[in-house]
Amino acid sequence: MAEVTISALVKVFPNGARAADGLDLTIRDGEFFALLGPSGCGKTTLLRMLAGLETPTGGTITLGGQDVTRLPPGKRDLAMVFQDYALYPHMTVTDNIAYPLKVRKVAKDERHAKAREAAGSLQLEELMERRPGQLSGGQQQRVALARALAYPTELFLFDEPLSNLDARLRLEARTFLKRLQTDLGVTTVYVTHDQSEALALADRMAVMDAGRFRQVGAPLEVYQRPSSRFVASFIGSVPMNLLPATVADGGLRVGSNRVPVPAHAREHVAAGDEVVVGARPEYAELLAEPADDALAGTVAVVELLGTEYLVTVEDGDLSVQATAPEDPGIGSRAWVRLGERHTLLYRADDGELVDAPRAASARDQMVAAG
C-alpha cells in the first residue's frame, strides 16, 4: 500500500505538446482516484508517467515515500490494466495471468496456483485453458484484472479498462471493480473520459484539461460545485444549463427573463457584469403556470430518461432543460425555475466560478495564463 505524490510534474513531447504542465497532487493510501478529461488532456500521459512508461520532462513522482521518478516500470511494484487489455494471444489464460510471476522467477507450480487463485475470485476457473481469442470482451477484461491481482502490488493503474465493453456490461464491471478495490484497499489511479464512471467509482477525482488539473475533489463536490465552466460542461450525464446573463437591478437578466442572483455570489458581482448561469436540469423545476423568477418558453423536445422526462424549453435563442415527472406535451407553454440553492455563476470572460472576490481569483488567472 502506498501514497502517491507528484510535484511540479511537467511532460513536454518532442512535437511541443505539453501533456503535463506543472502538476501537483497527493493520492492518499488506499484511495480510488479518477483522472477525468477529454481526449488529449494529458490524463493517460500522467498515468504512463506513474507507471514509468513515459519519462517526465521535469518534477518528481514518489511512491510510498520513495522517489521513483527515474525508476524503470518493473521496479515500481505496480500493476497496470490497459485499455486493450494487452492479453497475449499465444498464451492460455493461465499463462497470461501467471506471466508477471514467470518474469519474477516464481516456480511453475506456484505461479499456476497463484493464477488459479486470482482467477477464482473473478469466476474464470472454467476458462483457464482457453486463449484470449476464444473469450468474450467481458471475460477478457476479467482476465486482465486477474493478471493485475496475481502478484503483490503497491498501486493499481487502470487505463480506461471499461471503454471496450458494451454499455450494460460496463455497468456490471463498474460495480464489480468498485467492490474489488474496496476489499483489497490498494491505492488505485483510474483514467477515464466517461464522467459517470469517475463519479461512480472514485473516492476523489481530478478533472484535467490541456495538461492541468481544473478541479480536484470528491465526486459529489465536483458534481455540485464545478469550479469552472469547463468542468461544469464536462460533468453530468445530462449537460448542465449554461445560460449567458447580465447582472442588473439586483438580479440576473437571462434573455427577456429575470432570475435572482444566488445568495453565495451576491456579494461578488456588480451591476453590468457579464456572467454565465449554471443550473443542472435535475435541480430545475418545470412549471405549467407563470411564476416569479422562472424562465418562460415553449416546450420543444421531451426525452424519457426512465423515471422522469428531460424537457427542453425554448424562448428565441434561449434553450433551457429541466426534468419533470410528467410529459408536458410538445408546443405547450412552460416555465422553468432553476432552483436558486443549486444555481452557480461563472464569469463570462475566464469561466471561473463566482464565489469569491475577483482579487483572489486573479492569481489563478495568472497561473492559467502563464
Binding site: 514509468g52 516500470p73 502478484y151
Partner: protein, 293 residues
C-alpha cells in the same frame, strides 16, 4: 467462337435489342474466359513439360505423351554430383534462412519501435540497394570483397552475400508485422519487470511467428533458386548447389542432356512445392507483408 458469333447475331435482332444489359456482360465474360484460357495454357506448358519429360525415354523440348520409363532417374542418381549438390542447396538455404530471420527480426523490431528521423527513407534506400547488392552489377566488387575475406569457394561466403541481398526486403516485410503488434503487449511486460530480451523472446517473437515463417520460406525459396552468386563464388564442383550443377549437364556431344536435366529439375522443384503446400495449409497463403492494415 461460335457462341460469341451467335450472341452477336441475336443482339442485332429487334426482339433482343430491348435487353442489351444482358448481352454486353455475357460477351465480356466469354471474352475473359477465352483470354484466361490462352494465358493459362501459355504458363501451363512448361509445367506440363516438367511433369512428362522426366518419365519420357527420349525427352525433347516439346510436350508429348511420354513412353514411360524411370531410367532417367537411374541415370541421374549415378551422376556423382547429384547427391552433394542437393545437400549443398539445403545447407545454403537453411544457413541463409537462419541469418536472415535472426538479423531481420532484430532489425525490424528496432525499426518498428524506435523513432528516428528519416526512418522510412532509410528503409526505402535499403530496399532499393538490396536489388543492386546481390545483382549482376555488383558482381565484381562482391567477388573482390569475398576474396579479401578469404571466403572464396566457401559456403560461408555465399551465405553472407545472399543474406546481405535478402535482408532489406526481409526487414521491410517483418517491420510491417512488428508494427501490427500493439505496443501495450510490450508495455505490460515492462511493467511486469521483463527485460527487453525477455520481452522479445516471450512476447514479440511468438506473436510475430507468422511473419517469421513467411520470411523464412521466402528466403529458402530465393536461395534455392539462386544461380549467379554460388556460380561465381564457388570454385570446386563438389561444393556447388543444385542450380549450378544443373548448368553442367551436357552429353558427350556437347548437347544439353535433356534426360538428366528433366529428371533433375523434377527433383529440384519438389521442395519448393512442398513448402508452398505447407505455408498454404498453415497460414492460408496470406502474404501480408507490405500491406497496410
Amino acid at each position: 467462337m461460335t457462341a460469341t458469333a451467335r450472341t452477336g447475331a441475336r443482339a442485332a435482332t429487334p426482339a433482343t435489342a430491348a435487353r442489351p444489359p444482358v448481352v454486353g456482360p455475357l460477351l465480356a465474360r466469354v471474352g475473359f474466359y477465352v483470354f484466361a484460357l490462352v494465358v493459362g495454357a501459355f504458363f501451363a506448358l512448361p509445367v506440363l513439360w516438367l511433369l512428362t519429360a522426366p518419365f519420357d525415354a527420349d525427352p525433347t523440348l516439346s510436350v508429348a505423351v511420354p513412353s514411360l520409363t524411370l531410367s532417367n532417374f537411374a541415370a541421374m542418381f549415378s551422376n556423382p554430383y547429384v547427391g552433394s549438390s542437393l545437400r549443398n542447396s539445403i545447407l545454403l538455404s537453411l544457413g541463409t534462412m537462419l541469418l536472415v530471420v535472426t538479423a531481420a527480426a532484430l532489425c525490424a523490431y528496432a525499426l518498428s519501435r524506435v523513432r528516428i528521423p528519416g526512418r522510412d527513407l532509410l528503409l526505402y534506400i535499403l530496399l532499393l540497394f538490396s536489388s543492386v547488392v546481390s545483382g549482376t552489377a555488383a558482381m565484381v566488387p562482391l567477388f573482390q570483397l569475398i576474396n579479401q575475406f578469404g571466403l572464396i569457394n566457401t559456403h560461408t561466403g555465399v551465405m553472407l552475400v545472399l543474406a546481405g541481398g535478402l535482408l532489406p526486403a526481409g526487414i521491410f516485410i517483418l517491420k510491417d508485422f512488428m508494427d501490427s503488434i500493439p505496443p501495450s503487449y510490450e508495455e505490460f511486460a515492462r511493467v511486469a519487470g521483463a527485460s527487453p530480451l525477455q520481452t522479445l523472446r516471450d512476447v514479440v517473437v511468438p506473436v510475430a511467428r507468422p511473419g517469421l515463417a513467411v520470411v523464412a520460406v521466402w528466403t529458402i525459396v530465393n536461395v534455392w533458386g539462386d544461380f549467379l552468386i554460388p556460380f561465381i563464388l564457388l570454385r570446386s564442383p563438389d561444393k556447388a548447389p543444385a542450380a549450378v550443377v544443373m548448368f553442367n549437364f551436357y552429353t558427350e556431344g556437347g548437347q544439353a542432356n535433356l534426360r538428366l536435366i528433366s529428371a533433375y529439375s523434377f527433383l529440384y522443384s519438389i521442395p519448393v512445392v512442398v513448402m508452398y503446400l505447407f505455408v498454404n495449409r498453415r497460414y492460408g497463403f496470406r502474404f501480408y507483408g507490405g500491406i497496410k492494415r
